[in-house]
Symmetry: C2
Subunit: 155 residues, 2 copies
DNA sequence: GCTATCTTGTTGACCACTCAATGATATCCC
DNA sequence: GGGATATCATTGAGTGGTCAACAAGATAGC
């Protein structure tokens, strides 16, 4: 029951740290992460929306911001005129590398001061059963978000 | 790690249900809940802010909305001209009763379909260690948010 | 080939919240 | 008493997201 409230505080702290230190939203950070893991460092907006649990319009605005700051660029798909790829640029990758370092450290510190390793494992196992908990760790490889190699709906 | 993402989905679902069925925000719901549990059904804005993990301005706006709909009223504190109590009205209490029913059922259903009772207990025990996880269940009584009997800082 | 339907992305209006600044009142200390 | 400081609430501006409506392209049925 106190799940909602408890987590809100954690998210707030992490968001504040990420924002102050790197001028990034949590969703912006995770978007960069998803793009970095995706083949060709590019994803369709709709897949990004699924991965981030965001509405399409939310993705549009998020990508607007990332593009304005030079972290990504937009690319049209030659086979499908509707899709607009988001492509991770070098600047974006560099930003991600820098942010990931302190971001991961911050979270680890926050959790380590409250839980033992075993408790953390238990927690992770349980929480991964929640809806939309695609394991977005730091080095997975992106196994489940249909990362659009070249027009996935072509067959 | 996937903690953040996993929880976001849950919160979204609950928020949507609460909004569609009762025209209430999660924070509005919890504000009514806190007021209902508080002595005299009234709280100071600052205590509400602490309980809801919200900024003072957020509380002001939230209370504006609740007052406009007749769920609460504002009352001045005779001993301290700065504080503006939020007082739960009958309409607000009725709203809370109605919403609590389906809200609690919804959450229970969501969790029950994914976790066993024991897992839930484990989860709750762990998560209650997170910052700001004051156990805001359904019948606690409000033990820790300094519910302002009559001007708490008077002594 | 043409129309109907589905997908993808964008836009406008809005919402809940934040931060920074402000006003008003209380408290402390001399 | 009177000034410095702290506390409580509100306001204005800005942000990150939603929903509803829409435009444009892809697909399917016939």
């Amino acid at each position: 029951m106190a799940l909602l409230r408890g987590h809100a505080g954690l998210r707030r702290i992490v968001a504040a740290q990420l924002h102050d230190a790197h001028e990034l939203t949590v969703n912006e950070y995770e978007a960069l992460l998803l793009l970095d893991e995706a083949p060709d460092s590019r994803m369709r907006g709709v897949d990004l929306a699924a991965g981030l649990q965001l509405t399409p319009s939310g993705v549009t605005r998020l990508l607007d911001g990332l593009r304005a700051r030079g972290f990504i660029e937009r690319a049209h798909c030659p086979q499908d005129g509707r899709v607009a790829y988001a492509v991770l640029l070098d600047a974006g990758r560099a930003k991600l590398r820098r942010a990931a370092c302190s971001h991961v450290a911050e979270i680890k510190a926050l959790l380590a001061e409250r839980f033992s390793d075993q408790e953390l494992a238990t927690l992770a196992a349980l929480l991964s059963r929640l809806p939309g908990a695609g394991c977005s760790g730091e080095g997975t490889g992106g196994s489940m978000h249909a990362a659009c190699p070249q027009r996935a709906a072509d067959a």
